[in-house]
Symmetry: D2
Subunit: 500 residues, 4 copies
Amino acid sequence: MDGYGYSRQIQFANQEDKQEFSKFPTKTGRRSLSRSISQSSTDSYSSAASYTDSSDDETSPREKTQVNSKGSSDFCVKNIKQAEFGRREIEIAEQDMSALISLRKRAQGEKPLAGAKVVGCTHITAQTAVLIETLVALGAQCRWTACNIYSTQNEVAAALAEIGVAVFAWKGESEDDFWWCIDRCVNTEGWQANMILDDGGDLTHWVYKKYPSVFKKVQGIVEESVTGVHRLYQLSKAGKLCVPAMNVNDSVTKQKFDNLYCCRESILDGLKRTTDVMFGGKQVVVCGYGEVGKGCCSALKALGAIVCVTEIDPICALQACMDGFKVVKLNEVVRHMDMVITCTGNKNVVTREQLDRMKNGCIVCNMGHSNTEIDVASLRTPELTWERVRSQVDHIIWPDGKRVILLAEGRLLNLSCSTVPSFVLSITATTQALALIELYNAPEGRYRQDVYLLPKKMDEYVASLHLPNFDAHLTELSDEQAKYMGLNKNGPFKPNYYRY
Amino acid sequence: MDGYGYSRQIQFANQEDKQEFSKFPTKTGRRSLSRSISQSSTDSYSSAASYTDSSDDETSPREKTQVNSKGSSDFCVKNIKQAEFGRREIEIAEQDMSALISLRKRAQGEKPLAGAKVVGCTHITAQTAVLIETLVALGAQCRWTACNIYSTQNEVAAALAEIGVAVFAWKGESEDDFWWCIDRCVNTEGWQANMILDDGGDLTHWVYKKYPSVFKKVQGIVEESVTGVHRLYQLSKAGKLCVPAMNVNDSVTKQKFDNLYCCRESILDGLKRTTDVMFGGKQVVVCGYGEVGKGCCSALKALGAIVCVTEIDPICALQACMDGFKVVKLNEVVRHMDMVITCTGNKNVVTREQLDRMKNGCIVCNMGHSNTEIDVASLRTPELTWERVRSQVDHIIWPDGKRVILLAEGRLLNLSCSTVPSFVLSITATTQALALIELYNAPEGRYRQDVYLLPKKMDEYVASLHLPNFDAHLTELSDEQAKYMGLNKNGPFKPNYYRY
Amino acid sequence: MDGYGYSRQIQFANQEDKQEFSKFPTKTGRRSLSRSISQSSTDSYSSAASYTDSSDDETSPREKTQVNSKGSSDFCVKNIKQAEFGRREIEIAEQDMSALISLRKRAQGEKPLAGAKVVGCTHITAQTAVLIETLVALGAQCRWTACNIYSTQNEVAAALAEIGVAVFAWKGESEDDFWWCIDRCVNTEGWQANMILDDGGDLTHWVYKKYPSVFKKVQGIVEESVTGVHRLYQLSKAGKLCVPAMNVNDSVTKQKFDNLYCCRESILDGLKRTTDVMFGGKQVVVCGYGEVGKGCCSALKALGAIVCVTEIDPICALQACMDGFKVVKLNEVVRHMDMVITCTGNKNVVTREQLDRMKNGCIVCNMGHSNTEIDVASLRTPELTWERVRSQVDHIIWPDGKRVILLAEGRLLNLSCSTVPSFVLSITATTQALALIELYNAPEGRYRQDVYLLPKKMDEYVASLHLPNFDAHLTELSDEQAKYMGLNKNGPFKPNYYRY
Amino acid sequence: MDGYGYSRQIQFANQEDKQEFSKFPTKTGRRSLSRSISQSSTDSYSSAASYTDSSDDETSPREKTQVNSKGSSDFCVKNIKQAEFGRREIEIAEQDMSALISLRKRAQGEKPLAGAKVVGCTHITAQTAVLIETLVALGAQCRWTACNIYSTQNEVAAALAEIGVAVFAWKGESEDDFWWCIDRCVNTEGWQANMILDDGGDLTHWVYKKYPSVFKKVQGIVEESVTGVHRLYQLSKAGKLCVPAMNVNDSVTKQKFDNLYCCRESILDGLKRTTDVMFGGKQVVVCGYGEVGKGCCSALKALGAIVCVTEIDPICALQACMDGFKVVKLNEVVRHMDMVITCTGNKNVVTREQLDRMKNGCIVCNMGHSNTEIDVASLRTPELTWERVRSQVDHIIWPDGKRVILLAEGRLLNLSCSTVPSFVLSITATTQALALIELYNAPEGRYRQDVYLLPKKMDEYVASLHLPNFDAHLTELSDEQAKYMGLNKNGPFKPNYYRY
């Protein structure tokens, strides 16, 4: 069971492997889904068809023979003929990802990835395509596969295959397909990966297990998900990580956008798309006042909701107070709330007992973590009736007629019912590209066999590449000022512990 | 051409009629569309199918014979068998319209509409059904038809027909159907309307023209749209209005909700659903700082956009300044904007010349008035390419590759790409019900053959019926305080000119 | 007892007069106090000395002989030698009142007040001086006196006297002085007033009573206070108003600035200056959600306070809900509040019983109306101890040690403990000047013997004169657009009932 | 020259000492000034008199013999007879510092400071008195002196002396007095300090230099200022710190309150008290978007100002964008601004050239750091006229008559012209008390001869002690949840790198 709300049984050769790579639901991965995907299917990923895909072709891609216009067949996608449509999607995505384009231009002359052989495993979307094509422009050779059996945009995969990227991915893969695709990426004659870009750790695991000799020669791993990072730390702790790895999940810029800024918008969007609720005057309790909770509270308050907060951490609780939110226990207020929103990362934050006490029409949803926060299982009892009124919207009906409105069955609202702006994906992708460049070009000895955070200076560089989107003009330190502050004029500008 | 962005040629017997009832695009009508409708079809109303309607039945309802479970066939709907589904939709709507339910309960004993024979012409949605069933509960007999050929929820119409309301309406009527339905409502044996509830003025016109003897005996007309009100004032000015009429469009409560509060939410919703744009840091110009503009600016600013305003009225401009928005001319800023939003009620507020100067990726949309504000026609020239990228979203592509993103072809974003919360519809419906009660029960002489605003006390009553939704507790004046203020303890509490 | 919180017994010749002019506390007048005054004396007006006034001279101005540099002695001020200091104050005020300066320039060529003989009675402050000198620049002759025995800035009066304005006013007049000054303004040889500019109605009353023949020949009265306007309406109702009068108190621009915009800032300022309280996280109840309450709530919420609202009017209550404030009864919450703020215009909104239930440290203050809202009298009982801890701050101590912090003894916080920005005074002054011009130049028959509101077009003109302060650029209607909207390109742009 | 804007030449025995303890202006110290002080003297500290102090007694306290009511004369204050007044001030302060009172109660039974002999050097204000009396209640013996020659509240010092605390401090000490007082605290027969509580490092230095044998036996130093912490780190680096020291300046809670929350309020307060400016519609540039800048921007935006930001750090710049502030270079906008506010911590952020280009009436002030940010020195040239219009307000007048309004001569606005709420001081004081308890009770070996940050758990404890002020109710983790999260139920709840 992962963060996507469906079960994916990965078959490991033996139990020990499974232990070593034991997964827990990811917080980050979930936010990396693109606009077009969640748009294409508000019915969640379990819906098999993409909105541009007539899907009448039931033949497995593995059984088809396809050739791109240059004669290559080193790829496996749903339908190479969709390439043109996918190209348009990529072009549209490029407009919101000017930071990557700009990186492409700045680094293109020097080809900082010349010689890099990158094997990648991510969601395959228009935004990822912009990343991949940036890597190619910087000199890399790329082979790519999907980190999720449902999230591939077939048209985009076709467009990548058409320009010669070796892509192995389609929407609706089986588990067997999933590992087959990964293997086809890694195991190819006359080509040996020297860089890994991973989202979730499955690719890394596969190389580590199946191709240990390849693994040992890899120059660096870039991992963006909480899960994958966790697995890398476990490997490192166990003394089995023989390659430097970069944790790009915890870079400042990415974190702020994934959590605070993105959720500030997606809480409104997710609630509107599913329930059309009016925010003005609504009484809302937000459980948890971390970055996600802060974003939710700020947006709801701004739209006229009356918001209170639950917290376990007194420092965050004090912040909530100073920001104008009453800090309460859920039990004290649950009876009067119009909406209950969880953002804690914890489990059973909303219990059956509390659901029993909610008033008629109360909306319950989860912005925080996997599907554990609301005890949805407790609602699957005979005396309660479930009525699906829309995609992602269930009415749970009590014997007395009271209805509680549960969104996305307690899974992440922002994953299931909203979208992630290209701008946020651009920040992630730029961070990944810079991490690859850093690891690939770092002088001998800078990185050892460990997991690293992106250097602050590169984090600042990612931010600076995105400033032109806002026509923002940075001030430069004068020599005199830099000296006074004890700073290099080009940064980094803050100590590592700075809180932003 | 009306506010819905499609052409509906209404055939009048002669040109004079047409003059008399010359329509202009309505501001209000548009906002009365319900949740379920726009949800059902983000492809706009031109899509023929409702989301619950398999639509395989192509027979015209006029040609079918249908009977409800009580044996009546005095109705004409798409499919009476959809009644159960429609009933559930009505029940869901009731949960958000507790003010009407409360009115139902308070007035039910005295049946203030006993004897009233109401003929109505409105959008036929779950929310309207709650209104109609309230009128019935208060003693009225009702016959109903649709004010718009596309906006009927067939299932709801079936549910109304099932409980005995004489409904004549379906989604996708022809012009001929439209007038046929109106006529069937009015012209029935043994039943003569004594009250009219209208939205747009078509029903009123039909009765006035075709059944002058009925018209003369009507006790009152309640009209909710700008268009219909305009037509009534024209009739009154021409000395031809022989019936007292109530303009419920301009009641305070309704206005504030239709414009300020509703648009504050729908601007965000409409933009997200169509473009998934991130608001943070975006440069936005809002043309017009009336109630709609104020709502848009407030919401966008709260979500981190950098907003400036254009205005023609120095008082509104000064308000914009005090609210923290720079007041500019569109020409001064248009080159740098990420979004241009019109809320003026005027025409050609955004010209081709300005569209030419916009930057790549600029989003242009209209929240104000019909489809006149953006000069969309000017964009239909050979050198520009239109590319439909999603429903309601066109990319207009200049020869140099620049794309401007036009939403809803310049029609109202909040109509086309967002929804109206039930709560707002509840306010409108409650206002309509109270206006009917007032006109039907007013003592001889209180109202003459003229157009009236809802008495402030009733406006206050509508508001008070909605306060329980927010668990809001009103304070009562003591006798001493009432005397000090020179007020009646039960209101009205403000002079007519009070600005709120 | 007037709005300034001290008693001023005005001796009328007979009781009937008193009835006719019975005063009630003004809402507007109070806000017209200038920056420098309240700055000069946070000890309230009862402090005799101005901050620039050494006050060692105890001789009454009436007993002194003073001559200005041009040899004139037609004035009576504290000390003509302070003129230079006063001139500087006026120059500083001019910087914030560029609208008046601009009006001066625009109208100077045509001298629209040539021939006008204006007798004025207002607070005499630097801001008023800018107004007076504008009238002079536009052609008027002016004689001036103070409408309040404490509010004169002596230096400013001196500066006016120095340039030849006949000023009769000083800080700390006796009641006898007050009427003597008024009389000296009106009753002078060879000069007969034809225009009256009044603030409170005392001057108007004096002319009406003492110089009926002058009164009859006056061309117009401009009155800015609630009290004065009320007295004019009474006179009109009694059929005794033989002169057209302009109520400038109720012009849109003035109202919004006097109430919403000004109080939004002064609530914070008044609380900080008196108590240094931190707003973040404080629980506050604001009684009344009119313009003043809206301003207070908006500011406090923005600074992190948790605000709830009491209301008697369901429409305003609904607005409070939609703006995100819980609507409660005072009794329900009073026990938990950190601050109680009244903005109702009513009496005994906060009772002794409620004061008894407040928690230790609760701050109580009044932003609304005179000194009636908090039942301060009920606190003057033996078991309670009053402790003055600072100017304008009393601790009321209950027998158990509980302290309630009462500000300004329940008088207006914004009068007593804050200041009015010059910008707001500029709007008032510009409105007054335009009203004088309008009445003085109106063609025969436009105004009869009644009380009028400022024409909307002039209200818009006042606003437009203030836009340059914000570098705001108005958009002009094209001919085509004006026609489409049915508007004159120069305004007025809104119907009279428009709510802004 | 330190952060207080006046020069204090501290005479060191030799130059080497001076090097070792070289001071730089403090950011933190400045914010620790209490309500009453800055209230007492808006004329800045250079004014000698306290507002309750008639000051007619010119005898130096050192020359007086005073005895408290218990017969002790082990103190030196201005006037022991002011004790009663000071006691009242302390009682008032206690009301806002309930966290300390609560700590007093919780720890009183166990007397965690029994045996502690604390020598302290801080501002001596009512708030500090609450801290000192808390330490006494917890078992400590205290001797105290002032860290600033102007900041002592004489009445409070008297009240402390009256209850037996050995206080040596008065307002307006000479440099010689300053060191004499410190010495009297440390050097007393039969009493040897074992704990130091310092603010600025002067006491620490004195003990280190003059009483090395005492210094070696000290169990711990608690230091709250940036300066003092800097000096400790230098000492540590030089290997001369033979005592564990606690840096309480950088605890999360203190930082957030000192910077973000406090400045959010004091920017408004400081501007209003000095200039009475209206915020609505004003164009403001805030230089620097750290915590202080974020607080200023948020408050000004909320009050209707139009705010833009300058930044050198791309990450902070991106945050500014997402929060809705245009990021500009100062040169691009300086000509149009109504206010320029510096919050950078840097020098010469506003240069003479930029001051030359400002428009008439522009307000310039510094919220950031010492007095370096605005190049005030550059304004002291013959062609410019300085005019002091109020305390802390200078008009700088250019030859063409343009005036720039400079506040506090470029020193810290929040120090000079605003106040620090007791609540913020409470957080600091509680942090100090807990740090003393921790160091005094830590088991052997927990702390070595180094500088430590307050353990996160204690930071959380400080926050939790302040939650009752807001009636905030923390949620407790269940066992199951704590296990799921991998947390101890009592905290700490976050990793050290958490950004809040």
